[in-house]
């Protein structure tokens, strides 16, 4: 006789956990002092736990409470979270409570993560993109327990996540609908929320943290630090790529190079008559550097992965541009914005640390395991895309001209632009024969080198030396010479075949500033629509309120 099948083990486990938690909660409300007992009641050894580590906001109170538990009672945890930002995110491995990790990005903790992996304290399942990890939450990495972060809760347990909603909806949906337990830390408990971002029936416990959650402004770039070379490169981007392809829907990286482009829209791009023809729809965090372009009427809409500290009042006053709730405050959503950047944008432009001869690029450096967050989804052709735009079709035509069969079948292609100066600080070359990623893969026993953007997705490389259009290259040799041809005076650039590069230039594969009609005399900081933080505040009519560290006037 077969034993009768049981179909509700997860629900029974959930009921047992909730029963154990009754002693340390009052309904859904948990006292901060009782948080350790609550976590002890709802977490079981071997659980998959999502400790909400976002790009920006952090469930820091719950992180500290988790690390304070007794590892002899709570262990074998499998942590699934998009970002490792806080020391606690690795403390749970060092103290023996957790053993396995699936994640996306570990920027500030990358060096420590590499050490813990090399000593066998952490078994990394995989390093994902954000969207990829969220996808696995709904397939084979569903959390048993999610420890999340919200701005406010009401008495019933409804949550207001506000401007920095970020990852929360994806985490909660996966956990709550698979019999998991959702515990939220909130900054305040209100009688009436501005709006409900997560309904109470998806939330099991709410604890008011003694201090507001940790959050960082990650996307604020002081225009005072933008160099003339960045202005020159931004001019080439606007004239040689944005105008050339009529790019209307786009995503920018977060560096100074792309901030320079944002600040040249109301000046240089306006002088070229491009207003209304480029840069109207964005998948972008609310970059303060975009304020002058918004104020000059360039921007029709911006959907965001997260928010940015200091931008709240400005966003509230520009609801035609940003996604805001009936209460007036912004709602971000990393999963949706990643999907938007991947499928609905015609161009991604960002920077990197190293580019090789095949145009593969990576920010991975030796001794650090950092991951790439969302960049690989932004910087990849969306193979599933089916809707057309002139920009997408033009890139697709260039890539397929003269090809037959499957490779020649008409389709569009996303523009993926890598924008780098040939030398970084301390004369470190951005162009290399071999990416550090290969050595890192060997060190950390990764199945593949950690490449951020694959060369076959990169359509253009832009340096101070000009633009290499890789869509027009027809062989690996041509591609290599196109890369070398914009690599300047790095060893990679000096080793170019001069005749081949001149031939590529004749064909328009390589375009120098003079070929584009970009006047080097205009490449000064005077061309920036804002040259300081103060200028950004003024451009916003006083609505933008930068955090203290950026108030340098």
């Amino acid at each position: 006789m077969n034993a009768p099948l049981v179909w509700d083990t997860q629900r029974r486990s959930r009921a047992a956990r909730l029963e154990r938690a009754r002693a340390c909660s009052s309904g859904k409300q948990v006292d901060a002092a009782a948080i350790g007992a609550l976590l002890r009641a709802v977490i079981e050894p071997g659980d998959r736990v999502c400790l909400e580590g976002n790009n920006q906001k952090q469930a820091d109170f719950l992180a500290r409470a988790l690390t304070a538990l007794d590892p002899t009672a709570v262990n074998g945890l499998h942590m699934v979270q998009s970002v490792l930002a806080l020391p606690e995110h690795l403390d749970v491995f060092e103290n023996g409570m957790a053993s396995k990790l699936d994640f996306s990005f570990s920027g500030p903790q990358g060096a420590r993560l590499a050490r813990l992996v090399s000593t066998g304290r952490i078994d990394i399942g995989a390093i994902h993109t954000y969207l990829e990890l969220f996808a696995r939450y709904f397939v084979d990495l569903t959390p048993n327990v999610a420890l999340i972060c919200a701005q406010a809760a009401d008495r019933e347990g409804n949550l207001y996540t506000g401007a920095n909603t970020e990852d929360t909806p994806a985490i909660v949906e996966a956990t709550a609908f698979k019999s998991g337990i959702v515990v939220a830390q909130v900054n305040e408990v209100l009688d009436r929320l501005p709006r409900v971002d997560v309904p109470a029936s998806w939330v099991d416990f709410v604890v008011q943290s003694p201090r507001p959650h940790f959050i960082e402004p990650l996307f604020t770039r002081d225009p005072a630090q933008i160099s003339e070379i960045q202005v020159l490169m931004a001019m080439m981007a606007i004239k040689g790529i944005y105008a050339e392809y009529g790019v209307q829907r786009l995503n920018h990286g977060i560096g100074f190079d792309t901030a320079a482009i944002e600040l040249l829209l109301p000046t240089y791009a306006e002088s070229l008559g491009l207003k209304g023809r480029i840069c109207s729809h964005w998948a972008l965090n609310p970059h303060p550097a975009l304020i002058p372009a918004i104020e000059a009427g360039w921007v029709k809409s911006v959907h965001s992965f997260g928010s940015e500290m200091g931008m709240e009042d400005y966003i509230r006053a520009r609801p035609d541009v940003f996604f805001t709730g009936p209460d007036g405050s912004m709602r971000s959503n990393r999963a949706f914005c990643q999907a938007a950047g991947h499928y609905a944008c015609d161009l991604f432009i960002g920077s990197t640390l190293q580019i090789d001869l095949a145009a593969n690029s990576s920010t991975a450096t030796l001794g650090r395991i950092a991951g790439f967050g969302g960049a690989p989804n932004m910087g990849a052709d969306a193979r599933g895309r089916r809707h057309a735009s002139e920009t997408w079709l033009k890139a697709g035509r260039q890539a397929r001209e003269g090809l037959a069969g499957a490779r020649g079948t008409p389709r569009g292609q996303k523009l993926v632009v890598q924008m780098v100066e040939t030398f970084r600080e301390h004369m470190e070359p951005a162009f290399v024969e071999t990416l550090d990623a290969w050595q890192l893969a060997e060190q950390a026993k990764m199945p593949l080198p950690p490449i951020m953007i694959y060369g076959d997705d990169v359509t253009h490389i832009l340096t101070e030396e000009g633009i290499a259009n890789l869509l027009l290259c027809r062989s690996d040799d041509e591609r290599e010479q196109a890369v070398r041809g914009v690599a300047g005076y790095t060893a990679v650039g000096l080793a170019r075949d001069r005749r081949a590069v001149e031939n590529l230039r004749d064909r328009g594969v390589i375009q120098r500033a003079e070929d584009l009609g970009v006047d080097p005399r205009l490449a000064t900081r005077n061309l920036l629509a804002a040259r300081s933080m103060r200028d950004l505040v003024d451009a916003s009519g006083g609505l933008y309120a930068p955090p203290g560290r950026f108030r340098n006037w």
Binding site: I229, T422, M427, Y489, P520, R521, A523
Partner: protein, 105 residues
């Protein structure tokens, strides 16, 4: 004549085909960290002569490549180019040279 400690002086000369003739000296850039000053002045003969004083020693071959490329784009003749550099990247050097050449009559 004594030089400031650590400065390196480099000299290059290329024969050009575009006679610059007489012109008022052209000065672009400033001597500051990561930056440089470029001064163009008329000079007798058909050469374009470069004299570089730089605080970053040991980059002679890159200077030669940058200046040679500049001169192949702008084959100036009868010009003396004086450069005072404080560790500018090749990108900044090329931009300053292009700005100086664009300012010639």
């Amino acid at each position: 004549m004594s030089m400031a400690a650590g400065l390196e002086t480099l000299q290059y000369s290329f024969t050009g085909s575009q006679a610059a003739g007489m012109f008022a000296p052209v000065l672009v850039g400033v001597v500051g960290s990561g930056n440089l000053e470029v001064l163009l002045e008329p000079s007798p003969g058909t050469a374009c002569r470069f004299e570089v004083q730089t605080s970053a020693r040991g980059f002679g071959s890159i200077w030669e490549a940058v200046l040679r490329d500049f001169h192949s784009r702008h084959p100036l003749a009868g010009v003396a180019v004086a450069i005072h550099d404080m560790g500018a990247t090749p990108a900044v050097v090329s931009l300053r040279l292009a700005q100086a050449a664009a300012a010639l009559p």
